[in-house]
Subunit: 122 residues, 4 copies
Amino acid sequence: MPIPRLIDTTRLEAALQAFADARDWNRFHTPKNLALALTGEVGELVEIFQWLGEDESRRVMDNPATAQAVRDEVADVLMYLVRLSSVLGIDLDAAVADKLAANARKYPAPPSPPSVSPPAVG
Amino acid sequence: MPIPRLIDTTRLEAALQAFADARDWNRFHTPKNLALALTGEVGELVEIFQWLGEDESRRVMDNPATAQAVRDEVADVLMYLVRLSSVLGIDLDAAVADKLAANARKYPAPPSPPSVSPPAVG
Amino acid sequence: MPIPRLIDTTRLEAALQAFADARDWNRFHTPKNLALALTGEVGELVEIFQWLGEDESRRVMDNPATAQAVRDEVADVLMYLVRLSSVLGIDLDAAVADKLAANARKYPAPPSPPSVSPPAVG
Amino acid sequence: MPIPRLIDTTRLEAALQAFADARDWNRFHTPKNLALALTGEVGELVEIFQWLGEDESRRVMDNPATAQAVRDEVADVLMYLVRLSSVLGIDLDAAVADKLAANARKYPAPPSPPSVSPPAVG
């Protein structure tokens, strides 16, 4: 039985490949260029939060203008990340499963707290 | 009939939520903190390429050491991006579908080239 | 009478040039590579703050370990920025003077508040 | 005799302080906010290079439009870096001198090549 995927980017990878093919843009999609583009989009994303306090930034999705900006920039970052992985032949699902497992070993969860209900007496 | 998802992050979001819950780390996962963490990981990713030429960077996955580094950092960037989206309640699939459509309108693909077979003469 | 410089990076530029010359590293210092390196260092700088609250981050220089980390990363970011400017032949002082002036026009300071002492009556 | 400064940011720090004072913006200039703003500007800077080849990016200052964009973004990055250092009380000149010295120890320059003229015989 196959292990369920943590993430499935198959269709997005295909859509991005088709987008680049249709415009003859593959030649621009070198790993270094995609790394720079990813950085540019991360800059646009974090900028939305730069003058907001912690409370205001939690409410950024309540304001239609900032909500749309966040959605757009998150999408842009994701697309460049998926495109870079695709160009390099990286299996994102496997990469993320491995890293999550490594993180769990590096930062083990503390043991479960005792149950709330006290033990029976007698 | 439902439109197929471009991307499915359901299980990854759940895994990241469980990871944070088990360690009582949700309190650290504010939007601004996640934006800073995302930036840190993007830095670690692009650093791998900083002294490589274009050709060398295309071959980065041929060297086991750099290949693993790239996989790890791509995974880290993805996890913080998905976690940020999750904390803000963003539907990543909808966001990416919208942005891809907007990009297609902003950068229309040129018309298809004429067919290879030349027109009939006479 | 010459306008005083806002910033003088002359000696730092010379030191960075000599450092690269002595190691035959100029060939790595292309604008794109320096842009990637700058990004990597910014990532290392912002990471220091990623799990700190606003108050804790104001006190980051009180802890010798984090203080040294911040100094090191700020220095790294500065060195790559100055190196990039140097390689591109940018006069940083002129660039900053121009941008500060443009910002002052874009965001004019409000007029001075009225003096504290109330106007004389009668 | 004082050691000459590698970098002098005194007037720029004062100008940025005055700019913030005049607009009552100091309250926005927390370390985390400035880290996010710095990231945003680095994004705008590296974006200029993202679709350029190595040769094109070396010539970016030959085109008046891209030259001005690079100058503006380099200035923005510098201003946020200097402002962050200022807010944290960091002596940028000392920080850079220390890091340059540490780098020289970590990456010692190879010994000088033999002098061109051969040693005297006998």
